[in-house]
Symmetry: C2
Subunit: 316 residues, 2 copies
């Protein structure tokens, strides 16, 4: 009887880290409408596709994207094999911890950093590098592994959707092979449901063993208008729910929600909690939320106010 | 009791269209080894990924690829809007039914045909064009819809693998958006498990509606060394079983099977049955099987002799 009661309680509150405010009500109402047979908004299970941005939607993206922290650490690790970096930008700036000069190197400088730290090895070797880094790296403010700085309310939301027949996908501007080694364990999202930016890879037989080598060349940028393109390329169905936090998610939310019947859910996580996490929107280098926030008011997307709508940010 | 018996019988013969020869035994033995808990070759369900080529492996590819037949028909349908095609190659050759001149136009001519017939519309419009065509087009020899010319033994194999916890994928040189409208119904393979060649698409807001428009530009060729690249890009796990029929599948079979433990299965469908279907291998324009046939002997891939190993080719 105790078990039954606990189970009934869990069923009645699938989102315990959410306050009982608008966003939680919008989520539960949407899920019930699309998953209850006989409902006018009923959607067959295979069509219940939900897409989630990652940085700033599922895990922390300040003071910088985690993948950028990885790239900077990687430059430091590789520096002894590259003595020339001491005098060549943007590497010098990284080694000197000079973020201002690094920022001034712009997109070109960042791309150079990414290529040097993300290419030139096999896909299997890169996976090991990422896994090893995540096991030791710590966030500077919270002093915790980055994979613990995922938003508990969003992890509950992912589970709740899956429990109601949804297939949950990550659709991120981040590198797909930077995410895949850990998304299954941390979010319950398997590698084949992770869509992201990528560099080109090349297949070769090497010493009679097949290998995929990562090349220093951009393949696909899964951001802004690239997100619906990536969704169509890899899923081939239009999602019915989309979750993001920045202007990079605008087109994904448009593609998902502006499609007539059945019911659709678009949601933006608004970072409003400087105390427990961060507060930022229209003026930040990482996760700017400006045009999409204006669009939300017009299109009826739900905006999550982290401070008021979330009981808890991270898992204790 | 009758029900139990029938069910037990079905369980004992999951592949009724296969003769009890080497390939069937290899399949059953492989599936039992990887799916029985306690087996030394046991593989956890999420890692049970099987990849299938489409043309010539799951459905007929002679006298020409079905997608090429579609493109030729499409040129004829669009011709009234393009009077200039009467005097411009390769369109003139298509309208005249002059296959020799068409072949002489080479890859460049074919690409031009593909772009004119596959691009310049939204993804949704293209899906409708494909679906409409398949509902009326008939194979010239068998006088049946192309989607009925799928190999019954392979359809049983797909089901058998799924019943044993496998996720089945199509990995084809054919166009991904040419396949997705019908693979779920015909093979039980949903759109998100279809990987193929693609042209670029562009996201745009048009009259306040989000659209994805198909552009006349190649995005990805999912053939030969492109197959392992596509598998890594979209699945992010290495398959444990691969099924193909031509040299275009060589690298996919290498990538799948030459990876040490756990047990792996590589299989080639050899077209040996001119009477019930077609007989071809080293010398054909569609589905040449040459290097991969030599490789099979060395690597231990199973070769299916259609004539001797399949009781039945198509569904009656
Ligand atoms: Ca984001
Ligand atoms: Ca083939």
């Amino acid at each position: 009887a105790l078990f039954l009661t606990a189970s009934a309680y869990a069923q009645s509150d699938p989102l315990p880290s959410w306050n009982d405010t608008g966003p939680k009500q919008a989520i539960v109402s949407f899920v019930e409408r699309v998953s209850k047979q006989g409902s006018t908004d009923f959607v067959l299970e295979p069509e219940r596709i939900a897409v989630f941005d990652n940085d700033g939607t599922l895990w922390v993206e300040h003071p910088m994207y985690t993948q950028l922290a990885f790239a900077l650490d990687r430059v430091k690790t590789l520096a002894p094999q590259h003595p020339e970096w001491k005098s060549v930008q943007p590497f010098k700036a990284v080694l000197d911890g000079d973020m201002k000069t690094l920022a001034a190197s712009g997109e070109k400088g960042l791309l150079e950093l990414i290529m040097v730290t993300h290419a030139g090895m096999t896909t299997e070797d890169f996976q090991k590098v990422v896994t090893d880094w995540l096991s030791t790296a710590r966030d500077p403010r919270f002093k915790r592994p980055y994979t613990e700085l995922v938003y508990q309310p969003m992890v509950e939301l992912l589970s709740y959707l899956r429990a109601n027949g949804f297939k949950t996908y990550i659709v991120s501007g981040g590198g797909v092979e930077f995410m895949r080694p850990w998304t299954e364990k941390v979010y319950g999202v398997p590698p084949e449901q992770v869509i992201g930016s990528s560099i080109k890879t090349e297949f070769k037989m090497q010493d009679d063993m097949p290998t995929l080598r990562r090349l220093p060349e951009v393949n696909f940028i899964d951001d802004k208008a690239g997100k619906p393109v990536g969704i169509n390329q890899e899923i081939g169905r239009r999602p019915i729910a989309a979750f993001g936090n920045s202007d990079g998610d605008l087109e994904m939310l448009q593609w998902t929600t502006m499609a007539g019947a059945p019911a659709r859910l678009g949601m933006l996580v608004h970072h409003t909690d400087a105390e427990r996490e961060y507060a930022y929107d229209r003026k930040t280098d990482f996760g700017r939320l400006d045009k999409a926030l204006d669009a939300a008011a017009i299109t009826g997307w739900t905006v999550v106010d982290m401070k008021n709508d979330w009981k808890q940010i991270f898992k204790n």
